[in-house]
Symmetry: D2
């Protein structure tokens, strides 16, 4: 039992912190200015990152990445997570990171050349369309969108939303029903579709918690109306869509949760800075108030505990595989999301009126991370996964439905 | 002991609900469209309200209002609170309502004619500037902005923010230091200043939780740089600013809290509608989930309890006066704000991805009512007020500072 | 809308407070001394109460009680609830109070003379046996105990527990299956059985949270092994047991919840006394700590809100009947029990080491009121009642089972 | 970074689990039977443990213990913690374990022979007297009890309580003021006093949460009335009492917290067993209820996170010392105690009426671990320690008092 990271990691973290300080944090304010292109903001940062050898930490070296293990990337992901721009800087943002992973794993040679290669180089962006407005995201086997073969082509019809980064993406990986007659988990398939395909429309960027968003930082609503794609657009096996989606989830959850830990650390640091300097009366800083001290202490303990739980899950996936770690992967989801919301709430309250303005990053975190308890399956679903996994060991009979 | 409202109230509430349904709710979506003028949206609704005799419920009939008692207006305020536009419709929104009240009470004849009369007619809007960015709102006796007499004029210098509705307002009531040598609560005075006065600048509308806002729905940052106003601009007595501010607070708190109850009712209704209709599997609506049922039941009990607490505080103010009800007025602040945040959170979670979009009113409530635990003094301050009020009765010695 | 109690109540409350101070509180310490008979402690207090005309507040005057309305008795019940001995003093403790009510309503003349009359005079005690160890208390229509007719007699077999006050009781009212072939809610009947009946055994007083208990303050485990009782032992109609039980519940819930409010008030008062006087450093009382102040303020607001919710439920039962107030009766159960647990917890924490000793009444409350979230149906069941009641109005389809 | 325990540990844990199953759990019911001597219950178990080589895991081998490191003993302590009897079995219970540690470190040869040796052999028990009824335990430098030199002897006067295990102890280590004129942390000294010393009285075993307790499981109230002890009774240096107490705390906190984790695991296991088997309707086990599933999932995540936080603190103490780990040692105190209380509460609620009886171990845990948030300094104090430690790094000026 050893709580020290691998010896290569601390210098990397140090480098990364300096990079964040120099390149990323100063660019944050541009995010709120809708008239500034995000690309103009992010591309120079990506350039700088690449020059420092900071590029796609989770991708194998032979693919141009840094080749970190899951556990190592987890530690990196926390540092990046301290800024909403952090993951963009190293081209390891959702959903591109996940798309890279499944294209590497399941993509045909053609798909790799046409879609993966430029994505790895940071020349393009991509998106991932699974959630549907008419169907609950909590039930990934109940989709309405579908594709059928017509001669040599697949014809896709459907309605998707919360397709993150659709605005300006080169292609979308979309999951639809192809085999409704099969067993529950073998009905869906994935397709790689260029965003400029006929019959595919980006209806709008969905306004989320006050932001309509743009480019990377947007969530698209898509319609597929008789969108025809060649047969080889299938990603992985026909009927294998659910399993590809699952494969995408385990490591993705680790990245997300560590990003949330980064959010927490940033919020706690800001809370402490505010507490130490804001005077509520002459020579009487806020940090002397016991309520504020309670919040700081509780946040410190909660964040540290949460981080350990996520790192152990990463270590477990590395050691015994994602399949056997399913309950752990569900547990970190709701545990960390809940703590993040509490820490953000305390930090905002500590900042008073300033905390609800967009003058600090707290508002962005507070608004956009409210989704953390919803996306990738609502917390309530993950609690059920954990509990039923445990209760099986006690012989619980599941109800007949 | 009788929990029935006065017999005149139920028909009024019925009328009001119909009015909300017909005129107010359909206009909500315009709020999110920054290119639509809010005045263009609200003025026709105000016109319709006036025709129905729904105008300034809390203002005496002789001033053109409906002359409701505090308790009666509280009940009305809940209904209006169900929409972010509700109070605008009847011209009883903050901060205009409070400004009307103090102008009626403390205004000179000149001030009444010049500032109050058009405000009551709905021809102008106003704002109230007390909070300063450099000083904690939680300590209203510690101001930095000040005014000094120079010949016959007051010269105001200072920096204010969270001046709600400054954008487009006709005048501002501003509180500044005038007598720093006096006792703590006798140092500040209030002035009525036209927004176009020389030396007064609206620096910006502060972006709050993703919205830069406009007109009614905005929070201004103001600078007074040697702003000169005539001597008769003083509102109430010199050095009496703190007491005028206090007078404004008691009934204002009741209105706010009942508005929050309205927010809660709207959110709960939406939660129930969603639960009853959203299927998580074929023929299996969300409302059959025990977690959702817990949220609905807890929300129902909490909202009902909160409403009763606020109404009792209103009744107490009417019966024994605001001064003797100070702890009650503080208690409802933190009690209701906390419940509102919880109910909104549950309603959003019940809506899943839809809940974090701006497609429903929940996002607006969630973002803008986060301030409820901060404005008018953070909850932490009000808890101290209640506790020390109680502990005095037990002989607690206050610490020497 | 009026928050003042009826004018006859304040003087009664004053009398009652004096009575509690003089007679009840000084006797509390005897409760912890297992070698002291509770009867020896309580009977003199009852004598004194009776002399003051304080006897069975909720029972009609013609039956020897004070004839208070439900709302009036609710207010009285809070005062009595401040001591674990309070309700015994006025002979209105559970389960005797409920038994009196159903015997008055459903008892035959013979039952009234034999069982009710001495109970009203305080000469006997009684108990009520419904809960079974093998079956969930949350499902009152699923009983295992049963009775069958054999010639002119009923033969009862079954196993009951949490039969409060069985130790020393004169008789038990027991609910068992009599008509298993009938509809779900028409299968059970109630019987009045003398505790010395053949075949009826008090197995033990169940040790609850560290107390084995005795007499009034005990929870018995009963076995009926071929216990034969005459036909006229039936209380109410055959198959009507469930409805009699329900009738017992509405007003009983009001009494319980107001008793809990009394518990809260006592705990809060103790918390304040401790906070005002306990020094954590020389001349630095605990009450100056912000955390303690938070607890006091939150408790004050929560208790006041809870009381109003209960009183409104009482008023509603009086006004529109218990049947139409079912959701209200469920809501107060979980709402008040939760607040009581929190207030007790804070008061204990404020008392430090003293708080966990049996030197104060807090330990008794903390241990024995943990059951409040369980008895009369666990909170989880009541939340379901409230939620489904609401969701029906939104057209929720219930799942088929 | 490695989450595997040292390879010697898993077989030891397996042995220990078997030992608990065979020897400890079956003896638990004897605890509740006040007529059974605890010694008669525990001594045979200790005999068996010793034969298996399970004896004082945290004590060096040369002193007769198992010589485990702090981290290793932490893991062992969790297993023992699953039963209230676990630590007694291996003679590593509080306060004996701590007393052994300070006697080994600070004891004179005479003290070691007279007091330590039989304690290590399990022939005697001991106790530790620091807390005073008249002074807050949260302020260990503010004591009232004192000793003064009179000729060659120390004369001790004072009043102590919560002296765990005083009943039947061979000796007490007591901390009293000796040098009131010195600096705050150099005023107190420790003495080793035989329990049969003249002037030392065990006033009573304090009834705690319904149990008056006996022997090991008791908390004594002591009076020192002119109790004279020889000069060499001083333990460690004169004026060094506070530092000896501190030395005792770090590892002690780890043992406690891991014991609490054991309590949590036991409670969770019971909750799962109950959920899987208790039917709320025919063929409908409780475990299918979503609320129960939520509780199980949340408990699982919380316990795992808490354990990691404690183990990391143990690892940190081993790596950089207890002094530099002070904030970590405070953080685990309040973090784990809070989770334990929640898990116990959920397990009780899942057990329904059974949960509040003394028929399961839950009642014992629930009642006696309420103290966890109070003893060794209330949580509120530890939160302050953590927060001020952090805020120092941000330059917070402490208030002048």
């Amino acid at each position: 039992m050893d709580f020290l990271p691998p010896p290569t990691i601390p210098p990397l973290i140090e480098q990364l912190r300096a990079f964040m300080e120099t390149h990323v944090l100063p660019a944050e304010s541009a995010m709120h200015n809708a008239s500034v292109s995000l690309s103009d903001t992010i591309h120079p940062i990506q350039e700088a990152a690449r020059e420092e050898g900071l590029w796609m930490p989770q991708i194998p070296k032979e693919q141009g990445g840094m080749g970190l293990s899951l556990l190592e990337h987890a530690i990196v992901s926390e540092v990046l997570g301290e800024s909403p721009l952090g993951h963009y800087a190293l081209n390891c943002q959702a959903p591109d990171a996940g798309n890279m992973e499944i294209l590497i794993e399941y993509g045909s040679d053609v798909q790799k050349e046409r879609f993966l290669a430029p994505l790895l180089r940071g020349e393009t962006r991509s998106c991932f369309a699974m959630t549907e407005p008419e169907r609950p995201g909590s039930n990934p086997v109940w989709l309405k969108s579908h594709a059928r073969m017509d001669e040599d082509e697949w014809v896709i019809n459907g309605h998707k939303w919360f397709t993150t980064g659709a605005d300006g993406a080169d292609f979308v990986i979309v999951m639809v029903l192809t085999d409704p007659g099969q067993k529950l988990h073998q009905r869906a398939s994935m397709f790689v579709v260029p965003m400029d395909a006929d019959g595919l429309t980006l209806v709008r960027n969905i306004p989320v918690m006050g932001d309509v968003g743009r480019e990377w930082a947007s969530h698209g609503e898509l319609r597929f109306d008789g969108c025809r794609v060649p047969e080889h657009s299938l990603l992985g096996e026909r009927g294998g869509g659910f399993y590809v989606a699952q494969a995408r989830l385990g490591p993705g959850r680790i990245h997300h949760c560590m990003r949330w830990i980064g959010v927490c650390e940033r919020a706690l640091r800001m809370m402490c800075e505010r507490a130490a300097t804001r005077e509520v009366a002459p020579d009487d800083p806020l940090g002397n108030r016991q309520t504020i001290q309670n919040w700081i202490a509780e946040s410190r303990a909660e964040i540290d505990a949460a981080r350990l739980l996520v790192l152990r899950a990463a270590w477990k996936i590395q050691t015994i595989g994602a399949g056997s770690s399913r309950a752990d992967i569900s547990a970190i989801k709701f545990f960390v999301a809940d703590i993040m919301q509490r820490v953000l709430d305390r930090s905002i309250q500590t900042h008073g009126a300033l905390g609800i303005t967009d003058d600090t990053v707290l508002s962005t975190f507070y608004r956009h991370e409210r989704g953390a308890r919803i996306y990738d399956g609502p917390d309530e679903v993950h609690k059920g996964v954990v509990a039923r996994n445990i209760l099986q060991g006690y012989g619980l009979k599941r109800p007949k439905r």
